[in-house]
């Protein structure tokens, strides 16, 4: 679990040889107020879209670096998995999308007062990106700007 051995030998070899993009320097934003007063957004790389949204492009070389906005009041059961990777088991997150975009859990944390508010939108990516240049240069700053405009304090990020 949580190990390269869960992948095929071909994928393991690719991942061992892959040049991971190192974050340097590492930025840091401390929490500025209690979580019970914070606005929280979710970010998932599970490739979820809602009906009517364009699916992620599973043919794009290097991966599709675009993102979709998922409204904060979205019905979790309506989320559609369009992640292209065949290297992991999709059945759990198809049965319960909260496994990779825990919107219902966040609602419960709001109702209990553990966190302040749910943001008006969450963000969905398809994380199977081998070419990260455009993502780092263009997509990530633009997507982050949306959450800044929403006055989000905290983002929780979930890969698959």
């Amino acid at each position: 679990m949580g190990d390269l051995s869960e992948f095929s030998l071909k994928v393991q070899l690719f991942l061992r040889a892959y040049r991971w993009r190192r974050i340097d320097p590492v930025p840091w934003t401390p929490l500025k107020k209690p979580l019970s007063e914070c606005r929280v957004a979710l970010v998932s790389s599970a490739g979820f879209v809602l009906p009517g949204q364009e699916p992620f492009d599973d043919k794009k070389r290097g991966g599709d670096s675009s993102f979709r906005e998922i409204p904060g009041d979205a019905v979790v059961a309506a989320l559609v998995d369009t992640h292209r990777s065949e290297s992991f088991d999709h059945s759990g997150m198809r049965r319960d999308p909260n496994l990779a975009l825990p919107i219902d859990r966040l609602r419960e944390l709001t109702e209990s007062g553990r966190i302040g508010q749910i943001n008006q939108r969450h963000l969905s990516f398809m994380g199977s990106l081998t070419a990260t240049g455009a993502f780092v240069r263009d997509t990530a700053p633009a997507a982050a700007k949306l959450l800044v405009e929403d006055s989000v304090n905290v983002a929780l990020l979930v890969p698959v």
Partner: protein, 84 residues
């Protein structure tokens, strides 16, 4: 690759003033990419919050991310293990 993508996006959010925690499924990737705050979970790919239809187990993972945000002793890059 997903762990790298969320790590890179977490870094951009932190640059723009938003506090983050990125769940990570591969320790090797977390150590190389270095997200600002990362929670390594011992679950297989596709199961970052443990199990489907298990609200308590999913919330336990989220609660661990929230505790990282509240920990004043953490320094970047911060990597913790779940359940810890």
């Amino acid at each position: 690759m997903c762990s790298q993508a969320v790590g890179l996006f977490a870094a951009e959010l932190e640059r723009q003033g938003i506090s983050t925690v990125a769940i990570q499924l591969l320790r090797q990737v977390a150590l190389r990419v270095r997200p600002p705050r990362a929670l390594f979970v011992p679950f297989r790919h596709g199961y970052p919050l443990d199990a489907p239809d298990e609200p308590g187990r999913q919330t336990a993972v989220l609660e661990a991310t929230l505790r990282m945000l509240e920990d004043p002793c953490l320094k970047p890059p911060a990597l913790k293990d779940f359940p810890g």
